[in-house]
């Protein structure tokens, strides 16, 4: 095998650390929440450290693979890091830390096992970003979802249960579709390893193309459900609006997993988008039109929202629309814009859910309904924060949303039907401005009667600080847009470089002529046995 890189053994750490922490959390249980909180924060900090270390380790453009049990690549389980996955790891860990700090101000007491579920969720997220094969992507999706079911129901209540049932049901259907796609792709290519698949998918016989393309489109469907593509987005507003605020903020990264999977599978594995015969080209025509409708529906929902939480949830849908417009370009510029917008919209979307929660808990009578009500305490601070968060998510200068949208517009300049893309994005931004302006003025200015909410002395300052930090992160992303874009540009280029990925995982010598009997006709029982996977996945 190749000489081990310094970081190689650390690649699995972002998956192991949350797993161990979650197990410890269950042992500590609710008996001592302070110990849980301390452990939880320490572990998330360590996770952020590891993620930054891994980011640094591959920032020279190297792609690194960790082979579990040292089984050679296409047979065993591989975890792969490159700039794309480490960027997602850092983003996840950073967001998790912010959400955790927000939650330990009180939210985590409202149900059992918050911290354990939280770390299982991180395990699933990190695993999905690290994994180098399609079936483990499914497994980590499931880990992520199982934890998210628990987190979503955190706090209980009839509405949450009902929305939770729908959420679980739609994700079970999505998982079934995922397995059909996995079965189709395995049946045709005889492999599920990303790198191996990238090689095999290009050599599939003409007669099997239809099956392979069906599999690819089914995969897109699955990722579209995760990423809340129209018309598969209906679960999202109900779920996010019903979940407790810190959880909804953490879920801001969950839709991005769908986006990541689209980039990884259709960008890296199934084609660089340049050739017309690659599978990426089969899928690409669907993405931009669906993204445009997603943006339009998200914006319409945002305008029609009667509650602040619905507003925040539909904002997530709208931001996924913008993000997928950029991803749908499948070229380096488009993907650079997409990566920037992904980081931005995760931060801003999470901040929006948190600030909405801060406002809603102070409006004891009207909660998050967009109706005139009593003035709230700390209205000046919260109003300013709401204003700043709104600026970030709408995409007005000087925060990162502006740079992000500008980049998306720039990247689509030479796309077909550019007028439609530009028109949708710009009109949507205007509509969002109106929506947020109306919401903000209703809540902060159209007030009457006694002030509700805790006084400054009695209120916990951490939640506000967390929102302020997220806004600060958005500002930093805008101020340091130059270096950020440069790094993300390299990320995008690497993500579309299939050959680099294949070489890193399979080794440069093996990828052209695999030493496996797969080249024989795979009609009867000649597909390749893979004992290592059997052991690892149980």
């Amino acid at each position: 095998m190749t000489a081990p890189h310094l970081a190689t053994s650390w690649i699995i750490a972002p998956a192991i650390l949350p797993a161990i922490t979650a197990a410890i959390m269950i042992l500590v249980r609710q008996r001592n929440i302070e110990i849980q909180r301390a452990f939880s924060v320490a572990s998330t900090l360590a996770l952020l450290g590891i993620a930054l270390f891994l980011y640094q380790a591959v920032s020279d453009g190297e792609t690194d693979a960790y082979r579990l049990g040292a089984w050679p690549a296409p047979y065993g389980i591989v975890l792969v890091i490159d700039r794309l996955s480490t960027t997602m790891l850092v983003l996840t860990a950073g967001l998790a830390l912010a959400v955790l700090l927000y939650a330990i101000a009180g939210w985590d007491r409202r149900g059992r096992h918050f911290h354990a579920l939280f770390h299982f969720q991180l395990l699933g997220l990190n695993g999905a970003f690290l994994t180098g094969d399609l079936f483990n992507l499914f497994v980590f999706f499931e880990v992520m979802l199982i934890a998210s079911y628990g987190l979503m129901l955190h706090g209980g209540g009839a509405k949450r249960l009902r929305a939770g049932f729908q959420y679980v049901a739609i994700n079970l259907i999505a998982s079934s579709l995922f397995l059909i796609a996995v079965g189709l792709i395995y049946g045709v290519t005889g492999t599920l390893n990303f790198a191996d698949l990238a090689v095999k998918a290009r050599a599939v016989a003409e007669s099997d193309q239809a099956l392979l393309q069906t599999g690819a489109l089914l995969l897109l469907l699955v990722f579209a459900i995760k990423a809340a593509f129209v018309p598969l987005h209906w679960w999202l507003p109900a779920t996010y609006a019903a979940a407790s605020a810190p959880i909804a903020a953490l879920f801001a990264i969950m839709t991005k997993v769908g986006a990541y999977a689209i980039i990884r599978v259709f960008g890296t594995v199934f084609g660089d988008g340049s050739g017309t015969d690659t599978l990426g080209a089969v899928v690409a025509p669907w993405i931009v039109p669906a993204a445009l409708v997603t943006l339009a529906v998200g914006t319409a929902g945002l305008l029609g929202a009667r509650r602040l939480l619905d507003l925040a949830a539909f904002n997530t849908v709208a931001s996924m629309g913008t993000l997928l417009i950029a991803i749908g370009q499948f070229h380096v510029d488009g993907l650079t814009a997409a990566m920037y917008y992904l980081v931005h919209s995760t931060i801003a979307g999470a901040a929006l859910f948190l600030i909405v929660d801060l406002i809603a808990t102070r409006r004891t009578l009207k909660l998050d309904a967009l109706l005139p009500g009593n003035p709230i305490s700390q209205a000046a601070i919260l109003g300013t924060l709401f204003f700043l968060v709104a600026i970030a998510v709408i995409g007005l200068p000087p925060l990162s949303g502006f740079v992000g949208k500008l980049m998306v517009l720039d990247a689509t300049y030479s796309a077909p039907r550019v007028w439609l893309i530009w028109g949708t994005i710009l009109v949507a931004s205007l509509m969002m401005t109106i929506g947020f302006g109306r919401a903000g003025s209703t809540i902060f200015w159209k007030t009457d009667g006694q002030t509700t909410g805790p006084s400054w002395e009695n209120t916990s300052k951490t939640p506000m600080l967390v929102v302020a930090l997220l806004v600060g992160a958005s500002l930093m992303l805008s101020v340091f847009a130059g270096p950020a874009v440069k790094a993300l540009n390299a990320t995008a280029a690497q993500a579309l470089d299939t050959q680099n990925y294949v070489n890193a995982v399979l080794g440069p010598s093996e990828n052209t002529e695999p030493e496996r009997p797969i080249t024989e006709p795979a009609d009867e029982a000649t597909s390749v046995p893979v004992p290592a996977e059997t052991l690892g996945e149980q």
Binding site: F135, V139, E142, I146, Y149, L153, A158, K159, L161, R162, A163, G164, F165, Q166, V168, A169, L172, I173, S175, S176, L179, I180, V182, G183, L184, Y186, G187, L192, A238, R306, R307, L365, K366, L367, A369, L371, P372, R438, T442, K446, D448, A522, D523, E524, A525, T526, S527, V528, P529, V530, P531, E533, T534, E537, Q538
Partner: protein, 122 residues
Amino acid sequence: MELIVSSAIGLMTAAAVYLILQQRTFPIVVGLTLLSYAINIFLFTSGRLVIDEPPIISGADSYTDPLPQALVLTAIVISFGMTALIVVLALRGFLETATDTADLPEDDLPEDDLPDETETAT
């Protein structure tokens, strides 16, 4: 054999889709279970249908592909856990709201004591 297996998958999927489209939680849960059965058999066939062969390379000329079997095993475990969870969810929902419909409850805004002002002001 191919015809039996494939029509079994198709029938189960069709029944599952019909059941999932129902309004109440119990048929949906049964539908999801049926769907996962269909998927498991489908996954199994992705390694081709072979009878009486060992799932390992033992020196014999032919063998059956063990990977789909491992995949199916994993899928069974996961779908079992998921089914248990969704049954509990459906039950809790039924006990808390005294109805087993899968729709979301009507979203009532808090009592609005200033209805006229809302209309005119916006």
